[in-house]
């Protein structure tokens, strides 16, 4: 066992290094377009920064965390050495190479297209090649997760697959399939133009392909967080997982329902029929079911911990919880942000309400609250939890960890609440320059300044993260006890076959994708005259 420590550390360090740089870029963006700074007069610098920030935060950070954590779970949950270590290193190498290949043209101003690509804008080919390499690296991970599970099941016929592995493989399959949409967009729409083989692009079709990826990618980002809720938190706070079966059902449902709903990102797109927009809304509603199952299960598990620690009465168990424990604190902050973010999401997913906040800063606020807030804070918790097992050195500074998590939670709320607010006031997103001297924008000045302050708090929190991890790297060696995942109240002895493998759920995921996306895609391909000339970005003749 334990042949992948360096591999996992390499994944986390690369993810966090990118995160650190992108965090600074984010705050710089907040600052220079706020009333606090004189306008830099070059919007291109701003869009370079936004592209680098988004690409790193959305593709590099979560992908590498999911991969690294997935390898960790594979060894620790299956309790045997991982198969395919060399392949895993190859996947990591591709991700690193891809990141560099993507970021260089962005830094040179040749690919300021933002991470969602926005055809008909087309930038330098190396940007897209880099993204494809990152995705290829992550697909190696998907394959390795599948192979490791398959071999384990073959060697342990009929035994229940450990829940952490079940959940990890669900996340891997979700990613493997959802990345196909963006891959199709890149390979068949954008790259031929970027490479100079074609001059026109069907922007509508490309957007539909991207929406295929865009919703479920959020659930892919979410997977490590949810896995941590179920498999780390109850153990870390001295409790038990309320129900193993409930967890399996939740992840199975994520697989089925998170995927075929992305057209809710194209509500304002004329090329998609209203009927399909409705259908995707319905399934967006269905995704709430596994989310609520999770909230229920985790709250119940936490209550168990409170009662095991001597809490009594209706609310007394809350007081008995180990609030000083970083896992407890991180989860609580994560839930608060998930609650607010989820409430905001209800507005985005409603066809009519969406029209009022479409393309405003509300949307930026929303996805920062959910992703950068609720999700990423648990990445920190995961790192704190598994670090001693990777480095063989204890992480002693709990005070610093708590400060880091508190600052992340508070900073994210100070950042995003004003963002939501100015969005309601109509402040558009993806703009480099706002003239606050104009009376029409004067009321935005204060909330925007608050957001800048929120961002500054996040930068301090990011610095603390590095402090904690670096101190851990130099602490004296100590042999940590064997790693444990949460144990369920009733550990499973036998699991229904449907909840012991992915076949049924992957089948439903693919079938629903075909039903929900097949016609819109076929229709867009078959409609003539929809291609428009590409707009080359960053070319200066």
């Amino acid at each position: 066992m334990w042949n992948s420590k360096r591999l996992i550390l390499a994944h986390f360090w690369f993810a966090f290094a990118g995160f650190g740089i992108a965090l600074l870029l984010g705050e710089w963006q907040m600052f220079i377009r706020s009333p606090l700074a004189a306008w830099i007069s070059d919007p291109d610098l701003y869009y370079r920064s936004v592209t680098a920030h988004g690409t790193t935060m959305a593709y590099v950070l979560p992908t590498l965390v999911a991969m690294g954590f997935g390898y960790f779970v594979t060894e620790q949950a299956l309790k045997r050495p991982m198969i395919g270590l060399h392949w895993a290193w190859l996947g990591w190498g591709l991700a690193v190479l891809g990141t560099i290949s993507a970021i260089v043209p962005v830094a040179l101003g040749r690919a300021s297209v933002l991470y969602t690509f926005y055809p008909p804008m087309v930038g330098n080919a190396f940007y897209y090649i880099g993204i494809v390499l990152v995705v290829l690296g992550s697909w190696i991970w998907v394959a390795l997760m599948a192979v490791n599970l398959y071999r384990w099941k073959r060697d342990n016929p009929g035994a229940p697959v450990p829940f952490p592995m079940f959940a990890t493989v669900a996340g891997a399959y979700l990613w493997g399939w959802t990345a196909v949409g963006a891959a199709l967009e890149l390979l068949f729409q954008i790259m031929p133009v970027a490479l100079g083989w074609r001059d026109t692009i069907d922007a509508g079709l490309a957007r539909v392909f991207f929406s295929w990826t865009l919703h479920a990618i959020v659930y892919f980002w979410l997977m490590p967080t949810y896995i941590a809720y179920y498999t780390i938190v109850p153990r870390a706070i001295g409790g038990r997982l309320f129900s193993d079966t409930m967890g399996r059902i939740a992840f199975a449902l994520f697989l089925v329902a998170a995927m075929p709903i992305g057209i809710h990102h194209a509500f304002e797109d004329p090329q998609v029929g209203a009927g399909f927009k409705y259908l995707h809304s319905v399934f967006t509603g269905v995704v709430a079911i596994p989310t609520l199952l999770t909230v229920f299960t985790i709250c119940a598990s936490v209550e168990i911990a409170g009662r095991l620690r001597g809490g009594r009465g209706v609310l007394g168990w809350l007081k008995a919880l180990p609030w000083l424990n970083p896992a407890m604190l991180g989860t609580a902050l994560s839930f608060v942000m998930l609650g607010f973010g989820g409430a905001g999401g209800l507005i985005n997913m409603s066809y009519q309400l969406d029209a009022t906040i479409h393309n405003t800063q509300w949307v930026t606020g929303h996805f920062h609250l959910i992703f950068a807030g609720a999700i990423v804070i648990m990445y920190f918790v995961i790192a704190y939890d598994i670090w001693p097992h990777l480095t063989g050195r204890a992480l002693g500074c709990f005070g610093l960890m708590r400060a880091q998590l508190w600052l992340w939670g508070i900073g994210m709320i100070v950042l995003t609440f004003p963002w939501h607010w100015v969005g309601i006031l109509g402040m558009p997103r993806r703009m480099a320059f706002y003239d606050y001297t104009n009376p029409a924008l004067a009321s935005l000045a204060m909330p925007v300044i608050m957001s800048v302050i929120g961002g500054a708090i996040l930068v301090v929190s990011g610095a603390l993260l590095f402090l904690v991890l670096l101190r851990g790297q130099f602490a004296p060696r100590s042999e940590p006890e064997a790693y444990r995942f949460s144990v369920a109240v009733r550990p499973p002895h036998r699991v229904p076959a449907a909840l012991n493998g992915m076949g049924l759920w992957v089948g439903l995921m693919i079938a629903l994708t075909i039903v929900n996306y097949g016609f819109p895609i076929a229709h867009a391909i078959a409609t003539p005259g929809t291609a428009v000339p590409a707009v080359m970005v960053g070319e200066r003749p």
């Binding site: 016929p157 009929g158 089925v256 209203a274 009927g275 104009n438 049924l504 000339p533 707009v535 070319e539």
Partner: protein
């Protein structure tokens, strides 16, 4: 201990999960493709199938009562595609140089005009080509230019474009005037993107001209012509939408900045 089969009708997980998924999909289809469209008061469908097609996103033929708006003036016929004129060779440039002999009296011997005609040296080939084509079709009106292009073929125009693109631009006179706000940042509240985002300092968009060093009177006239719709050959009203929203002071500042900038 061998596992039970998942994909079997006897397996309740299998039948239930597929059943529920199919039921949700079916209800979603009925509501989204029939009930909602048919209960929408403003849409008049000729029956259920029509409603389904519309909800699926199929394009309806406009009914005869709907008016299709078309411009009552000639619009450009040129489709601008980036890189469309990239592959000029020396022969083309040479032919262009010969054809350009009749242009020198107004546009200068090396494409740099002494009078208030626009400079052509170093202009993007797509711009030269498109403007010549527009003069010829009447999309851009000019009593001076129209007769001069009447007998030019498309391939002549490509050669002229290659030749002028090949000539060196006016060189920097070193006046370091700072960019006026309208050029550097546009006016977002009025929907004006920075001029430089299309015209070269920040990004170059195919079809937008190189403006630096053009005579101030020429720039001024063109901006006012766009604003008043007297010039209307820009695709999708890209430049008219900008110019209409500009104040006279901004037109002044932008013209002077570009004229004095090189």
């Amino acid at each position: 201990m061998s596992e039970e089969r998942v994909a079997a009708l006897r397996n309740r997980w299998f039948t239930t999960s597929i059943g529920i998924t199919a039921a949700i999909t079916l209800v979603g289809f009925v509501v989204g493709f029939l009930w909602l469209p048919l209960s929408h008061p403003s849409d008049r469908f000729r029956g259920a199938w029509d409603a389904i097609c519309s909800a699926a996103g199929l394009l309806n033929k406009p009914s005869s009562s709907e008016q299709i708006v078309t411009a009552n003036y000639p619009t450009t016929r040129v489709e601008v595609i980036p890189h469309m004129l990239d592959s000029a060779d020396a022969v083309s440039i040479g032919r262009g140089a010969t054809l350009a002999l009749r242009c020198t009296m107004c546009h200068g011997a090396r494409g740099l005009s002494q009078a208030n005609s626009p400079n052509l040296a170093g202009q993007y080939p797509i711009v030269i080509y498109k403007q010549l084509m527009d003069f010829k079709t009447g999309a851009r009106g000019s009593a001076v230019m129209a007769p001069l292009v009447a007998d030019l073929t498309a391939s002549d125009m490509r050669d002229l474009a290659a030749y002028y693109a090949y000539l060196p631009r006016i060189t920097d006179s070193g006046t370091g005037r700072s960019m006026p706000r309208i050029v550097a940042s546009g006016a977002p509240l009025r929907g004006i993107a920075p001029c430089g985002a299309c015209h070269g300092e920040v990004g170059a968009k195919a079809g937008a001209a190189w403006l630096e060093g053009q005579p101030v009177a020429y720039l001024h006239t063109q901006l006012e012509a766009f604003a008043s719709n007297a010039r209307h050959n820009d695709i999708d009203e890209q430049m008219r939408n900008v110019a209409r929203a500009m104040t006279p002071q901004e037109i002044d500042a932008a013209s002077r900045y570009y004229a004095e900038h090189p």
